[in-house]
Symmetry: C2
Subunit: 343 residues, 2 copies
């Protein structure tokens, strides 16, 4: 078989505001690959099926000299993120042709993975769509599950407030909270998203662009658990309406990722008197403790329909730059997945 | 014996800025008491010896309809706070004449305490000054001890930053941190205070009015534990220079107690990536867990000279209003105690 084009999405330029397709990222078709003969050097050849577009990717579009919890993208190289692949050939004893794998994959159609690359073979005994393994059954679901277990310390009858409620993290949090008997207040940025979060059980669901978060929380709170994907003014409203001893789970800060001036929070003195417990976290550091439990539990609950999810697919790696931008702008309707190949 | 004057410091008016003696509080000598014949109704008659002036009192000078962790002072009534008293007469079986007691006492020279008032009889087997039982061996020392035990999770070799380092809370924290092998950075608002915090073991001590907290922390950090008595810009500097996984112990926010406009903190998004753990707390809720341990350990360490403290006494209840103001302005040199009577 002749070599085929290996399309790649390259990181082209550090953005100052939103990451622009064609400027921040560029789709490149200059590379080819001979799938039958390319040397594996003891590793494996993986066909990339689905890639994930997540809010945190914006943080990786920075100068490589700035340290953070996840590595910066080097200019001129393909982006990478959690994805699902199909092993085509393998010299790595832990993988075999036909395996579906989950792990950090480059934004390219085909990839040679070194021996010992940390790819998790998906058994998928419950027969759910492969793409769910980058959403509710992947990193976003793990984020929700692990951090909720570690930090929510929720009791039946308490009140939780979840932002970005229709995203894969927020939607999972809502359902975990409901399953534990909490009253759940959740917000999102469109009426369609609000309808979805209501359909998965949120007791109070609202469009934060139409209703004041502070007013809703004043009416429906005080809140005992706050899941923060947003930061800024939303965080200030949550502090204002927090119950004594509330737990704040600090997962993200999308309100500041794209060059927006940071909103200055003015009510932090309430942390003392309300005895708030505020925990920032990164899922990678919680997986050792909860990862096994997660895979034993969540795919089953998804397969049974107990945990619902919403997926928003972009087809074609050439459209991945737009898929990344859409998530930064909150234009995705549910978990944004990039379908690179159908099988 | 004829009735004697019972001087009282009354709460006169809710302040908008600093609590002004003669305006916010008024010293009143209109009441008399017959020490031998006054009816105890099953309680006890206590002579107030020493009262405590603490930063948190400012929060109690509010409208009684505003809820908070400690009760508001009613207008026209004496203030109250932790103090040391001497039991003169008692019908309460848990107290006897001659006992020294610790507990919440009104700002008056003599007080009738109901039976079952929560007064703790001080044994003082280690023979330290009674006044230390409202400082390093009282509520401020308990605050430092209990919260450090619960939230610092410190490891030898880590770096702690302590604000208000010469106050009774901060000075105790510095010494607890040093005893556990941490490098301690501490700040205070005068060179005299800085000299004291250096004398009790702080590795880096600075006058925050002369040096930039942010610059000192950039040079001496990153910090693993932050003891916050101040809030505002200091908190922002601590977030900026925190190590991954740092613990923030939120004890107070003196920068905002007296009507100063709250400083707006702009870098809260760092909480996520740095995985900070921020804990607000109130000592009253930690005492059940650590109180017994505290009394078994700290008075001994004070008596042996291992834990040092600095006391700043104001003599005469008529000067208590000024003693309260001085603490709000940071003019006290060490633990501010109000000596109401010598014995």
């Amino acid at each position: 078989m002749a070599p085929v084009t290996n399309g790649r999405l390259l990181f082209n330029e550090i953005p100052t505001g939103y990451p622009e397709p064609g400027k921040t990222t560029v789709y490149d078709t200059s590379q080819t690959i001979d799938l039958e003969n390319v040397s594996l050097r003891g590793g494996s050849l993986v066909k990339v099926l689905v890639l994930s577009s997540d809010p945190y990717l914006r943080g990786r579009m920075r100068d490589v000299t700035i340290p953070s919890y996840s590595p910066a993208f080097p200019i001129g190289e393909p982006l990478d993120n959690h994805g699902i692949g199909l092993v085509l050939r393998s010299e790595d004893p832990t993988l075999k042709a036909g395996d579906h794998v989950y792990g950090i994959l480059p934004f390219e159609q085909y990839t040679i993975q070194e021996r010992g690359a940390r790819l998790h073979v998906l058994k998928n005994e419950v027969k759910i769509p492969w793409s769910t393994y980058i959403g509710v059954c992947g990193m976003p679901g793990q984020t929700a599950y692990c951090a909720w277990k570690e930090y929510a310390l929720a009791k039946k009858g308490e009140v939780a407030f979840v932002t970005s409620g229709s995203g894969p993290v927020g939607a999972t949090v809502i359902q975990l909270a409901k399953a534990e008997g909490l009253k759940v207040i959740a917000s999102a940025g469109s009426d369609e998203k609000v309808a979805f979060i209501r359909s998965i059980g949120a007791d109070v669901a609202f469009n934060y662009k139409k209703e004041s978060t502070l007013e809703v929380l004043r009416k429906e709170g005080p809140i005992n658990v706050f899941w923060d994907n947003v930061g800024g003014e939303t965080l200030e409203a949550a502090i204002d309406t927090a119950a004594v001893g509330a737990r704040f789970l600090m997962c993200g800060c999308i309100s500041e990722y794209n060059g927006q001036p940071p909103y200055a929070v003015k009510n932090l003195s309430l942390i003392v008197g309300k005895q708030l417990k505020i925990s920032g976290f990164i899922v990678f550091n919680l997986l050792a403790k909860y990862g096994q439990q997660f895979y034993a539990e969540i795919p089953k609950r998804v397969a049974s329909g107990e945990i619902k999810y919403l997926e928003d697919a972009t087809r074609g790696l050439e459209n991945a730059g737009q898929a990344i931008l859409d998530v930064q702008k909150g234009l995705n309707k549910g978990k944004k997945v990039i379908v690179v190949a159908e099988a």
